[in-house]
């Protein structure tokens, strides 16, 4: 026991230290402690109001506390792997400040664009921001590759050292590392891992899934099969075809939806083979062909198609689904509104048929086929299926045919993202009045809200003009429709940033609406301004 421990032991017990407690101490320290224990006449005891034995203990404690603090030594840690500093090229301070601003101000919708630009320009972010990026995007599968690139070698080494970030390290590049990550990840982590690898190497991602497929529980298989959506191609078809024999219906259905996106898949061919049993082309004037149908309809009132001389599509709704179609994901309903589930089954089957099959079989253009569908007794069912097919197969021509023909009804709006910019601009020219203020029901609002792609200059100009008109027409203090203010954010994120000045000049003088609207407009302009800064610093 050393001197300090003797003293602590005594004070804890409320007793005097044992005799000879200073033995073993440094001679100078021992002399000082002895002097404190027996103060001489010159040692100032008279200064104290009363000298008590505790004073000696307190003075000794003070001296020893300072002595110990002044002589403290540091613990030794065994040396780990040598640290290899990876000096990165200096990131432009303006770029770093912009990224910091976007991160701090939670402009999350901007981050994918910012990260993509940084990656495209080969910029490595400053070290002080790397941990924040790694922590924030460790679970964002679609952004992992970009984050892993922009944090640089140092950031990836950091990711390798933190189990929560390991998927962003170099370990995710090789098979062994992926296998190790798979073993330690939870279900959500595995889905992110497959999606991440698919983004870089679709075959490797599918192989990772195939190897572990049989060990997975049913509830884990569905989200994992969804991850194949990234980088989907005909190379995935054999595996997805085997998944159609899965015990879980949700898994089969998801696999079938993916296969329906591949017009060359065996499922698509089976759907094309099955479809003639339910649909038939009736040429113009062939009213008798309607006898091929059973006289039912998916519309509330008979549209009087028997009197229409144009071509139409006759429908024989499925009475019972064959097992092969159920294997392909069609749901065999047994309860509820019979017409409703027959329509759903028919839409599903049409959605899986390659669109070129209809053109080749019926020798008709998409416009003619859509017109025939609308002329028949099941217009909504057929156009829903065709819109599904156009979306899944990313067919621009069919999307452009279906949308205006169906008057941009809600059940076909899913095809809007498939349109090319030119097609969208042409549709807007033809169907949207130039000088009409916007409401939530306005066609322009409906279309732009479903458009995830970058906007064209013409679309941005049209939007600026329409919003300007709407602000002009809004009474002071009155609100704008909530759907319009929501679409302002879409505009800010997708319109060309060069239109910022035009938007500021057109909107701000007319900005007399209520506070929520003013805030939405200013937020949109600020986001667009940030994108303009990004364009100036890191051009696309």
């Amino acid at each position: 026991m050393n001197v300090w421990q003797h003293l602590v032991d005594a004070v804890v017990r409320g007793a005097d230290p044992v005799a000879g407690w200073t033995d073993g101490a440094d001679p100078n320290l021992a002399a000082l402690l002895q002097q404190i224990a027996a103060p001489g006449p010159g040692d100032r005891p008279e200064d104290a109001p009363e000298h008590r034995p505790e004073h000696s203990l307190l003075a000794a404690a003070g001296v020893l506390a300072v002595y110990r603090a002044a002589g403290r030594t540091l613990p030794r840690l065994t040396a780990g792997a040598p640290v290899e500093s990876a000096a990165a090229p200096a990131c432009d301070p303006a770029v770093a400040a912009l990224l910091e601003h976007v991160l701090e101000h939670a402009h999350d919708p901007l981050l994918p664009e910012v990260l993509a630009r940084l990656q495209a320009h080969g910029v490595i972010v400053p070290a002080r921001l790397a941990p924040q990026l790694l922590a924030r995007f460790a679970n964002a599968a679609t952004l992992r590759t970009a984050v892993s690139a922009v944090v640089g070698p140092a950031g990836r080494q950091l990711a390798a050292e933190n189990p929560a970030w390991r998927a962003l390290s170099d370990a995710a590049d090789g098979w062994d590392g992926l296998a190790a990550l798979w073993q330690t990840a939870d279900m959500s982590g595995r889905r992110h891992l497959v999606a991440q690898v698919r983004g870089r190497d679709p075959d490797l991602g599918r192989a990772l899934l195939e190897v572990h497929w049989r060990q997975l529980a049913a509830q884990g298989r569905e989200p994992l099969i969804q991850a194949l959506e990234t980088g989907l191609s005909m190379a995935d078809e054999p595996f997805l075809e085997t998944v159609l024999d899965d015990r879980a219906q949700t898994v089969r259905r998801k696999a079938a939806e993916l296969l329906a996106r591949l017009p060359g898949s065996r499922l698509a061919l089976r759907m094309a083979d099955a479809a003639p049993a339910y649909l038939a082309w009736s040429p113009a004037g062939d009213a008798a062909s309607d006898a091929a149908g059973d006289g039912t309809s998916d519309v509330a009132s008979d549209t009087g198609t028997a009197a229409v001389p144009a071509a139409f599509i006759a429908v024989r709704p499925p009475e019972s689904l064959p097992a092969s179609l159920q294997r392909d994901g069609a749901l065999a309903y047994t309860r509820g509104d019979r017409l409703r589930w027959q329509g759903a089954q028919l839409s599903y089957i049409i959605g899986g048929v390659p669109l070129r099959h209809w053109e080749e079989t019926w020798q008709a253009t998409p416009d003619a086929i859509v017109a025939a569908a609308l002329a028949g007794r099941w217009p909504r069912t057929i156009t829903t299926g065709l819109a599904q097919a156009a979306t899944a197969q990313h067919n621009h021509a069919w999307a452009a045919a279906i949308l205006p023909a169906c008057n941009f009804a809600l059940h076909v709006l899913r095809a809007v993202p498939v349109l090319t910019s030119a097609q969208l601009d042409a549709l807007l020219d033809a169907h949207v009045p130039a000088d009409e203020p916007l409401t939530g029901d306005a066609l322009l609002v409906k279309l732009v809200r479903r458009r995830p792609q970058p906007w064209s200059d013409a679309l941005a100009a049209r939007w600026i003009h329409a919003v300007g008109l709407t602000l002009d027409a809004t009474a002071p203090g009155a609100p704008l429709d909530r759907l319009v203010t929501t679409a302002l954010r879409d505009f800010a994120l997708r319109a060309p940033s060069a239109c910022h000045a035009a938007a500021v000049a057109r909107w701000l003088p007319s900005l007399h609406a209520d506070q929520r609207t003013r805030a939405a407009v200013r937020e949109a302009l600020a986001l667009l301004d940030l994108r303009a800064q990004l364009d100036a610093l890191l051009p696309a």
């Binding site: 409320g14 200064d47 307190l58 640290v83």
Partner: protein, 463 residues
Amino acid sequence: MQTPIRGTRLHSVEPQSILTHTEAVSLAPSRSVLTKATRLARPWAWLALGRTADAAPTLWGRMAGSKETVIVAAVRLHDLRMHCTCAARTEPCAHLVALLLLYAHQPAALPGGPAPPELHAQRPQWDTVPPLTQGDPGAAYARRRLPRLLACMDTLDRWLCDLVDGGLSAATYRPDPFWTTMANELDSAHAPRLAASVRTMAKLPGRAADWPDQLLAAMGRLYLLIQALRDYDQATPARRGDLHAAVGWPLLWEADRPQRARWHILAALPQPGRTAHQRTVWLAHAHTGACYAVTVRAGRGDHGALLRVGRTVDATLLPAHGGAPMAARLLHLHAVDAPPTQPPEAPAPEAQHGGIPHAGVMPVADVPRAHGRALAANPWHDSTPVLLRPDDVVHHDGRWYLRGPDGAALLLPAAFDHGWQLRALLLQGGLTLFGGWDGDLLTPHAVWTDAGWTELRTLRGVK
């Protein structure tokens, strides 16, 4: 003639109209103010924003407050004089920090124009400079307060003796009033730091396995302080300076030893407790690396707001008396220079600050030695400022350490959540760090990054 030592004079300081994100963030007195300011730093959060187009550009903004009131915030750019009509007690408030953040990122959001009417009343107040006072306010303070303090020291003496007499094992059963009554009495005797020590001691019993060691060490050092205060009249100026710092009294300045030099500004730390609007600005001598702490009022009051982290200033400091002086007063601010482009190097041996330990970049293994030398000069010294360039940042048994080449390691605080940032900086080219070593823990305050000196509190922590 004595040197005037209250009030700071600003000489030929160039207008500082450019503000970086890091500088704006470092003006926030706390993380909570910064979080709120970040939320407000969007153009759409304000009713109106602008910048006066005159010789002294001033940023201003109007924001809707509660009960249909309107908050007006304004910042004069060249000297960062600030004013806000909100009721927040922090200085600067979130509105002012938001205005600065907005200006740093989106200056176009603050268009130039005439000054709003609310500014006309405020500007003359900004131009009022605190009067210069003669003499030494610390000494006068001591003359007024010493008799009361000595009487309180007798009470503290008896209180410590009672604690020893009852045995430390009984400390765990002492009721709260045993501690709080003594602390309140010390507060009444204008000894705030001693009161804080007693409140800290109250939390020790039972907290850790070695709590008797910690409590006895604190009691012993308090007792030494009592003895030294009884000798106040016979003490040297340096010892008196140490006593003032230990008690929490106004410091004693070395009026005849002003030091003019170029100083790098390393950190500006908000002071906890009732003086939340005050900040401790740490400056390092550009050549010797000697560190001094200057206390400034943020936002308004003096030119302390110009001491922005990362900048280099040409300034005259008045060091405090003391065995290991760490504090100084900003006497003259001559110029604000461009920020340094490189982290500081280790100083030459002859440049060491007279043997004072807090000079220049030092190896990890030397940190306890430096702290020991400071303790030898001032037994009540609590934290030694250090500039470090560690070889490694290690995560070991749930704690972060800074390790030197020989394996010696400095332990970082338990709730430290910037360990990954330090490691990232180390991996991306090396880590230079400024912090305070209290004998047990190293508390990092600032690091050298691509943006120059950056306070850790301005970086978002990562667990």
